[in-house]
Symmetry: none
């Protein structure tokens, strides 16, 4: 198994070095940054699987870094390291999505638990680029959908719609949300267009009867798998 790329941002050199070394003994490939801007740049270069951010950092604080990263990727897990002085409500605002946080001082074991919890979750969701949907294998970047030996090509729209459904699998995905995200606007024509694509996806997914895209009248769609 290859090492998991991890981005660590911690401005206190002694602590950063200790954490980095400890994580490296546990199969992580750690990139250590000492301020927020560095972390943000490193994110685009290194494409880490998970990010650990100190909240108080020079140049750019951890929350701001996270906000910027969230614009580009809304699934990557982020763990914040907070000092005692951090107020609870600030933290609470970040308790959604792939986020977690850890209060200083913490033990390495505590950090490992958090990392593993979040990684397991995001692994299930987005295993890099090959997703399993029932018996299908969906390669999002390649826009192909494989069922056993035969491969179907997906168009750009089909792939994105399926990806979106997959990211929210087993829960209702709001019509309006899909339309705004993929079509840019929720109007009548775009809505009808989406319905056409749902039909197309259903056809392409019909080999595996355990999979289905169910409609929730007036709300949206739900991918069952």
């Amino acid at each position: 198994m290859s090492k998991i790329p991890l981005l660590l941002a911690e401005d206190e050199p002694a602590l950063g070095q200790i954490v980095k070394e400890s994580l490296e003994t546990r199969d992580f490939d750690v990139t250590l940054c000492t301020d927020g801007l560095q972390a943000l740049q490193s994110y685009t270069n290194r494409n880490p699987a998970i990010i650990v951010l100190d909240v108080m950092m020079p140049k750019m604080d951890g929350f701001t870094v996270a906000k910027e990263i969230r614009k580009l990727d809304d699934t990557i897990p982020i763990i914040f390291l907070t000092a005692k002085s951090q107020t609870a409500d600030v933290v609470e605002g970040f308790s959604i999505g792939g986020n977690d946080y850890l209060k200083k001082p913490f033990s390495i074991e505590e950090l490992i638990v958090r990392i593993n919890n979040l990684l397991n979750r995001s692994l299930e969701q987005k295993n890099a680029d090959t997703l399993k949907i029932g018996e299908y294998i969906f390669e999002f970047p390649k826009q192909v959908l494989r069922f056993r030996e035969n491969t179907q090509n997906l168009t750009h729209r089909e792939a994105h719609l399926l990806f979106h459904l997959y990211k929210n699998k087993n829960q209702v995905l709001d019509r309006s949300l899909i339309l705004k995200k993929l079509w840019g606007d929720d109007d009548f024509f775009n809505g009808r267009s989406m319905d056409v694509f749902i039909t197309k996806l259903r056809k392409k997914l019909k080999e595996d009867p355990t999979i289905s895209i169910v409609n929730v009248r007036g709300f949206g769609y739900k991918l069952i798998c």
Copy 2:
């Protein structure tokens, strides 16, 4: 949205009460136990969605309680509350599966973050459940109802109504409660609409004569199975 049943075991009365009350303001239905044995008994009675266990407790410690519960259910999320004195390796052994832990002292916000993280994960997995209603097999997420070899599709409303009836099977389910939960409001028209759906469900469930939806005039419906 209904409250989430949560089992809390904490032997220190003051702390337990505070945590209980804080969680109750956030849509949890908290059962508080003050020792390990009580917690274990309460688990079977209350069927909680998530468990928060203090590690050091009278009669039975948290880890032992967890081991016992794991024999019955290996998916339910468990969060341990540990004091400083707890050694790291003990904790680490429990860092797998649906477990997490929290070091004392902790803030309510920290606990909420942990709970939500674990609940989201177990929700994704638990969505695939198939319910047995008499001879029928009811797949709620897929909105299908199977009787031997033939499959009926249910609509979203039918599925939800049936699910609700099922969750309260063999007991009277209040009309007003269903209406508020599924229709959003208890008024005349919604009430009539529900009656129509009851008729529809009865038709779809008529293959198995042991099942019936009986009316309790003025109160609600009861699913017998």
